[in-house]
Amino acid sequence: MRTASALLALLLTLLVTGCGGADEKRAREPGTVTCGGTPLEQEPDLPAGFPKPAATTYLSAERRGPTTVVDGFLAGELGDAYEAYREAFESAGYSILFDELEAADAEISYRDPARSTSGQVALRERCVEAGRVAVHITARPA
């Protein structure tokens, strides 16, 4: 009887741990972040006409001294997110100072057309939620 109970408990444990979704598994991986939450109601304090590709959601914005820092996510894959931001910067007349696409991350450093603001859009493929890319934006006086 005791053996049967122990076996049942073991089976239940295996079932519970094995049943976690892909998101739950990803959440246990080091370096992952949550790309969920309530979207910002107001647009953050970014330069006028700052590119915002479709499927981008801003989750938080804060002021760190002279610099605006925005975090959010873009629904899609890293390569698509990188291309979307690149194209959006170019069509908005921004200068791309440096850009790099790697296996799990990408960065685009920019300067706005008025040359008054510069910063970076960093894209990271480390969201707990599947199909989302973390977006981290800095905007500081150029």
Partner: protein
């Protein structure tokens, strides 16, 4: 008589190796890279730069074992590095650049002193300048100074990242800067970075670089209500400022630009290692997003070639401290970009083509990240790659209270 024949043969062999046709039938030419750096005034910085240039040349190709060079367009180009001391003097830097022009140098790798006066002379001779230490905002301007490039953290990036890091802490900050070009450029960048948050600035003071006792200035900062100091100065002045504060039992946190990591700071304070504890500096991240492996490989390569850069101090446990080769990494990457540009245009003859190609090529940098310039940007280190590290027991580690720095690995400094 036999000995005379042998001598003549030796002379002929040497002459044949100096130019003209190589044994394989192709031409051989020598390309000179000038390193203009303060070998007499900031030997650590200058020697590290020169070593980075040498390694960059060797790793761009070798025409014989241990002999830097490459073949392109049917010609073998041997790379030669010529070190010239700038002594931190703009006038001497000008003489160095004239010498580089006379030597028909293919590039000048420069600590940064005097570039305001030298860039146009180099430009007329079609010589690119690669600044690898100073971060002054006006030094690099792709439109006005198309031959000036930089791989080093910019003063703009360092000053703004310091403002982003410190202002949210609610500190009242004294902005201290020395009277060198490095300090003056830093003061301008700090003024700009803190101009929108003047409530965070307690005072702004000049530190005379030739004055070892900075007690009067440090006391003024304290009386102004400062709860933190940013000391933007060369290494010896940073050490003097720390000594002035700590010897008066003022435990105010001290922040610096990259010069805070200069071994001279720890050497000067070797008798009071506890005074170095807590010193925090801003610098360019040494490792890539993917991790520290590439930098470790580069650091091993550097150590194998030159031995460890001993700081000259020990931890409390008596272990000798070494310096990671950060200021070799930047010139290393610059030289590799230069050679990539020369290769891409089939040789160095058309200097304008080489300059133009510098905007097109990309190399894998020593830290694993890509290095590249483009027509709009001649700065190879972006502002967002500035991180913070803090000293404890004579070695530094990335801080944990800054989002970027918290993700970076500590670099071994005890080998």
């Amino acid at each position: 008589m036999r000995r005379r024949w042998f001598l003549a043969l030796c002379v002929l062999t040497v002459l044949a190796g100096c130019g003209g046709d190589s044994g394989g039938g192709g031409k051989v030419a020598r390309l000179t890279i000038v390193v203009s750096a303060p070998f007499s005034r900031s030997p650590y910085v200058a020697e590290t730069i020169a070593r980075g240039v040498e390694l960059g040349a060797l790793d761009s190709g070798q025409v014989a074992a241990g002999k830097a060079g490459f073949n392109v367009g049917g010609t073998t180009y041997e790379l030669r590095v010529l070190q010239l001391d700038s002594g931190l003097s703009p006038r001497q830097a000008l003489r160095n650049v004239r010498r580089a022009v006379a030597e028909k140098a293919i590039a000048i790798v420069d600590e940064g002193t005097g570039v305001d006066a030298t860039w146009s002379i180099a430009r007329r001779a079609g010589i690119p300048i690669g600044i690898v230490y100073q971060g002054g905002t006006g030094l690099v301007d792709p439109e006005r100074r198309p031959n000036v490039f930089r791989i080093a953290p910019t003063d703009h990036g360092v000053a703004f990242r310091l403002a982003e890091y410190l202002i949210p802490k609610g500190l009242k900050i004294a902005l201290l800067y020395d009277d060198t070009g490095y300090g003056q450029q830093g003061a301008r960048a700090l003024d700009e970075a803190f101009s929108r948050n003047r409530e965070a600035v307690a005072t702004r003071l000049l530190l005379p670089s030739g004055q070892s006792d900075l007690a009067p200035q440090i006391l003024r900062a304290r009386r102004a209500g400062a709860t933190a100091l940013i000391v933007w100065a060369r290494g010896p002045t940073i050490a003097n400022a720390l000594a002035a504060a700590r010897s008066r039992n003022w435990s105010v946190p001290v922040y610096t630009p990259p010069a805070g990591a200069d071994p001279v700071v720890r050497q000067q304070l070797a008798d009071h290692p506890e005074w170095v504890d807590g010193l925090t500096f801003a610098g360019g991240r040494l490792t890539a997003e993917v991790g520290g492996t590439a930098f470790e490989v580069f650091a091993t390569r550097y150590r194998d070639a030159y031995g460890p850069d001993r700081v000259g101090v020990e931890t409390r446990a008596g272990v000798a401290v070494t310096q990671p080769p950060e200021y070799a990494m930047y010139p290393y990457d610059f030289v590799r970009l230069l050679v990539a540009a020369i290769r891409s245009v089939e040789g160095p003859q058309d200097r304008d083509a080489v300059l133009s190609a510098m905007n097109e090529v990309t190399v894998a940098g020593a830290n694993g990240d890509e290095r590249a310039f483009n027509r709009r940007n001649h700065d190879g280190v972006v502002d967002d790659d500035v991180y913070f590290a803090r000293f404890r027991d004579m070695v530094f580690r990335p801080v944990k209270d800054d989002p970027l720095s918290a993700t970076l690995p500590a670099i071994d400094q005890l080998q």
